[in-house]
């Protein structure tokens, strides 16, 4: 099997619009969460959300290109520009090679709702405009990025709920390991608008700690009361090792293992067995011992059952090994379809800068989180290997293991 390395990263998130900004936000424990009054006017149970700007791409992309892009495709474009630049890949390279594209995305509600509103009000489908169809499809990110960057390898959207971004990276790694692709642009994108998560709010999944938005996302804390929705986009460039060496690419890490499983159980409540299986599979495929893992970026979203069962799964697998476990969702909220990719980048930034960001708001453990080593304050630590979990509705699980290079 061929080796898979990471040669570039880029991000657009509530913690910053570049790797440098995000690194500083992680280091300083900045929260990206606010209370959105618009959501309260719309009847949301919780108006909490991550806050980020929609990029203005006028002057950078043509009017037609922009017309087909919903917000998450714009986030993904900016993240990908940064990732390609860091990987030292220009348009000439993309034009001459069959570069693939696998991106996690699992909704595009805003343009869908707007088109339906137009149809209902005007009874004339032409008035939806030419962009509506391309913006509203689940594959909107990959169709937009693929045409903008002229990518001609695998082109596929991975829809695996909140594990979409992680599965995109894992599946990309498999394609490279088997020699089917030399390079793939991987990532995850998540729209941030009320329509996209209104029905999610409706099932009482969100924290209602509206009087203190920065305290609302509190993974593993005893007094957590739900997740906070977030979003943006994160891109990593993965590449076959020898291919990266030959072109003189900046090799920054290696993807050692991808584990996956499905719970085959409840549609929203996770269990312990499924995630445990995903963790074990990733470690086995990575061919490493537990003690080689220096940091675990948990999926933990700040929900009662989710965090409890993940804590149990992690403890099942690592036992008494002293490995720091945190959830960066304490700073970002739950970035859902993007999370699996963004959390690889957050972990990479920590690994490259020798620290582990604080698990914000971890004030009191519960019975299960007490068994894990969860730092409530940032710690300075060098580590060379991390594990990142992503779990999603329907019981889909993904685990990635990455080693420093």
């Amino acid at each position: 099997m061929k080796r898979v390395v990471i040669t570039g990263m880029g991000i657009w998130s509530c913690l910053g619009k570049s790797l440098d900004e995000v690194r500083d936000s992680l280091y300083n424990g900045k929260s990206g969460i606010i209370l959105d009054p618009v959501r309260k006017e719309m009847g949301f149970r919780s108006g909490l959300t991550a806050k980020l700007d929609i990029p203005d791409l006028k002057g950078e992309l043509s009017r037609s290109q922009r017309a087909y892009m919903p917000e998450q495709a714009k986030y993904a474009y900016c993240a990908t520009i940064e990732a390609l630049r860091n990987a030292k890949i220009d348009q000439d390279y993309l034009d001459k090679h069959d570069v693939g594209l696998l991106y996690g995305n699992d909704s595009s509600a805003d343009p869908t709702v707007r088109a339906v509103d137009t149809m209902r009000e005007k009874h004339d489908t032409t008035l939806c405009g030419s962009g509506a169809i391309f913006q509203s499809m689940n594959s909107t990110v990959t169709m937009n990025l693929g045409t903008i960057f002229h990518l001609r390898g695998i082109n596929l959207t991975v829809s695996g709920a909140c594990a979409s971004g992680a599965h995109a990276i894992g599946l990309g790694a498999l394609l490279i390991q088997t020699g089917l692709q030399d390079m793939i642009v991987c990532g995850g994108a998540q729209e941030v608008n009320p329509f996209s998560i209104g029905s999610f709010d409706g099932i009482s999944a969100f924290s209602t700690r509206e009087d203190a938005p920065e305290k609302a996302s509190r993974p593993f804390d005893r007094d957590r009361d739900g997740l906070v929705p977030g979003g943006g986009a994160a891109t990593i460039i993965i590449e076959e090792y020898e291919h990266a060496i030959k072109r003189g690419a900046p090799i920054i890490a290696e993807i050692l293992g991808y584990g996956f499983s499905a719970n085959g159980d409840h549609i929203s409540s996770p269990n312990v067995e499924g995630p445990s299986k995903s963790l074990r599979m990733a470690i086995e495929r990575a061919g490493i011992g537990i003690n080689e893992i220096g940091y675990i970026n948990a999926h933990a979203t700040s929900t009662h059952v989710g965090d409890t069962n993940e804590a149990k799964a992690i403890f099942n697998v690592i036992g008494d090994a002293k490995i720091e476990v945190t959830s960066t969702k304490s700073q970002t909220g739950h970035e859902m379809w993007m999370a699996g990719a963004s959390e690889v980048i957050y972990s990479m930034l920590m690994m490259k800068n020798n620290f582990i960001a604080a698990n914000l708001n971890f004030e009191n453990p519960d019975e299960d989180s007490a068994k894990l080593l969860i730092p409530a304050k940032r710690i300075e630590k060098h580590f060379d290997t991390f594990l990142s979990n992503s779990f999603g509705f329907g019981g889909t699980n993904a685990t990635l293991i990455v080693r420093n290079m």
Partner: protein
């Protein structure tokens, strides 16, 4: 709406939407070429006209409206 006023508004909304200099919009110029419209952005032009002037241009008529002058006349008769 007076025809000169209509022409001014048509030129203004089309230039803004399709991001071209208004000065290149002349009566005899071809609409598709001037605004660089493909089959998809042509749909946006029809939607824009309908939203701004309340006039729907059916496909059968659209093929006859090739120049800006033809568009001004078409709208002047219906707006």
């Amino acid at each position: 709406m007076e025809k000169q006023e209509l022409i001014k508004k048509v030129n203004s909304v089309l230039a803004e939407e399709f991001e071209v200099e208004e000065s290149i919009i002349t009566p005899d110029a071809n609409i598709k070429q001037t605004l660089e419209l493909d089959s998809l952005s042509l749909v946006d032009m029809v939607a824009l006209i309908e939203n701004e002037f309340g006039v729907k241009i059916p496909s059968a008529d659209l093929v006859k409206v090739q120049t800006f002058a033809a568009l001004y006349d078409y709208l002047a008769e219906r707006a």
